[in-house]
Amino acid sequence: MTTFKIAASHSNVQELVARLGLSENACSRALQLAELAPGRSDWLRYINHFLATIGALLIVSGVAAFFAWNWADLDYGVKFALIQAGIAGTALLAWRLGIDSMGGRAALFSSAFLVGVLFAVFGQVYQTGADPYGLFVAWSILILPLAIIGRQAALWILFQTLLVLALIMYWTQVIDPPNGWWQLAQLLGPLVWLSSTLMDSTLASLVFALNAVALIAWEYAVNRNVAWVQGRTYPRVIGFGALSSVLIPTFVFIVGASFGETVKLGYISPVLYVAASVAALYYYQFRRPDLLMLTMLVFGAILIFTTLFGRYMPMDTGTILMLAILLIGQVAGAAYWLRKVSRRWEAES
């Protein structure tokens, strides 16, 4: 009989019991065999960990609420002292716990995050008049040593995010401030505004380049067998960022063509999108197998192809039906292809 290595989770065991129509006793026994029914020592462990986490979370939230209550009335010195104490305290905690432990990593990340809060309060108190991009540049420079020491993906993702934000801020405040309708995007929240800045092909290409360089450098380190870069979180997050920065302008380029909304959009974005997708499809299929990356790329291709088809077909009920059939075909084909690739990797390993 073929054996499958599948963990006995609570839902798996219940599903098994339901399919086999087992008795109540057999159900309880199955949960016991799966070691899912906790004993006294497990309960004490839960109490130790859960209650400590929940209690600490509530107290930290309560302290934050207290400072929010009288923040405006606090003396500047007290504000700075509080944040700097937070930075020093979390750094000290990271050192005490060890920067490779879970707690130490969280503490070091908190320390890096609080550096930004300190800059924000500094700008608020002294009204320096500096452009916000300066805040992101200074923040990224100051946390670079922490990222190098910390050797954790989360810190490098924060560093990369700050670089991208600094670039977008510099572009939209100094090089080419937005005008016309794009200014309204600022009213709809930071995410909408950030996405709208990618409607400028030059800026989008620079953001893509920044992310692509970071991704290539990380994958190079992976190939050189650097131990701490072997996790896939960083390349996946940065890969998503790189893909979005060419996918969004390409999408709008197709939809907006002939609507007069393509002033800052050029062919560079679609060209970069196609080139990057082809290269990444090859790399993540044959050199560094990564099914999530392939899924992102295939999904992006489906979106673009469907949009292209919808844009240039006549606007009638027949087109709606054709679009539905096309979408069904593409998604089914993509799922089949991804499964086939996954099977091939399994056979090769």
Binding site: H10, A26, L33
Partner: protein
């Protein structure tokens, strides 16, 4: 924190060696294990789901754009969509078809509810809500899909909430969350019996749906209406009613858990344990969501259910965030409530660990 090192095959082998598996069950077991092995990763399923929903909506748009000669047309098309979805779901486990069936069923329900109201001449929001509640009550049993069953409960209970607001029965709202939580605890405790009676396909979506319903109603307790709007509408009047009811439920769940922690009945430790639960309830007077999170986490921990524990923790974080920005009390009151509840929880931890300190069975102490 929960170990998941045991494989399903080991559980099957254990049950077989103890004679608890029915004869000739090998094929069923193999087919089940194979189906789990064949399950696609979440991101591929997400892609397929997105495509299926979009394609289904386009198809529905196509049907809708053809136009209906009479209001009865909406009823007929709605019934066809729901019937087709049920049939498709019964015949296949394919991800794409499953998601398409979900989308078709939801669109069919909307068309059917609208059609019935138009045909009957009711033409009001309350009639639509009533039809949706009845329809989902039936579909919970008829539609053979776990996600659809969870959605049925959520849609029916949300409609019930809207209906109560519409009838100006706002005073009942603080009772609904604790009631859903109590039903969840009741069914959670009896799930082995219900699965053994052949209703396993209903019990899990029922419990999940009740848990999400309770989360949803409790989140309403944090809704804050800007005073400038001068809108005299109480979304969640008297949240302390929820606190008292959930406090009682927390005590009940605690009474189920205590024998697994401290064995002695009537011992001082037991009194301290109950005292702490009461203290946590009192401290969380204005924050009933915290008690619900603790109930869900304790229930999950009592049976090694990671999904429940994760859901309880996630709700706790979301509730604290919404509580922080919402609810019509000052930041100082929020601060005092949060710090005192946190202190009560930490005190409970310290006392429990101190009070139950003693010989702890080595290792897992399972089985």
């Amino acid at each position: 924190m929960i170990r998941e090192k045991v494989e399903l095959q080991q559980v099957v082998d254990g049950l077989r060696s103890e004679g608890l598996l029915p004869e000739n069950s090998d094929d069923t077991v193999t087919a089940f294990l194979e189906s789990l092995h064949e399950t696609q990763p979440w991101y591929i399923r997400t892609m397929v789901g997105f495509g299926a929903w979009l394609a289904s909506l386009l198809l529905i748009g196509f049907v809708g754009s053809i136009g209906f000669a009479a209001d009865a047309g909406f009823v007929i098309v709605g019934v066809l969509f729901i019937g087709g979805a049920i049939f498709a779901r019964m015949k296949t486990e394919n991800d794409f078809m499953v998601q398409s069936a979900l989308a078709s069923s939801l669109a069919g329900q909307a068309l059917l509810a609208y059609g019935i109201v138009e045909v009957s001449g009711g033409n009001d929001f309350e009639s639509v809500l009533s039809i949706v509640i009845v329809l989902n009550g039936i579909l919970f049993f008829v539609f053979p899909d776990r996600i659809h069953r969870v959605l049925s409960i959520l849609i029916a209970m949300s409609s019930l909430g809207f209906l109560l607001y519409s009838w100006k029965f706002n005073a009942v709202i603080p009772v609904l969350g604790p009631l859903a939580a109590a039903a969840m605890v009741f069914f959670y405790k009896r799930q082995s019996v219900i699965i053994a009676s052949g209703k396993g396909h209903l019990i899990r979506p029922l419990i999940t749906g009740l848990m999400l319903t309770a989360f949803g109603f409790l989140l309403l307790s944090t809704v804050y209406i800007l005073p400038e709007l001068r809108w005299e509408f109480a979304f969640y009047p008297r949240p302390w009613i929820s606190t008292i009811l959930l406090g009682a439920l927390l005590l009940y769940v605690g009474s189920q858990v205590w024998p697994q922690i401290g064995a002695v009945t009537g011992s001082p430790e037991r009194a301290v344990f109950y005292g702490l639960l009461v203290a946590i309830t009192a401290a969380a007077w204005a924050i009933p969501g915290l008690l619900l999170a603790l109930i869900v986490i304790m229930s999950g921990a009592s049976s090694g259910n990671r999904v429940f524990i994760g859901a309880g923790i996630a709700f706790l974080v979301v509730f604290i965030a919404t509580y922080f920005y919402g609810i019509q009390v000052s930041m100082l009151t929020k601060s005092i409530s949060l710090v005192s509840t946190g202190a009560a929880v930490l005190a409970a931890r310290w006392l429990l660990l101190k009070g139950t300190a003693g010989p702890v069975e080595g290792g897992a102490s399972h089985a």
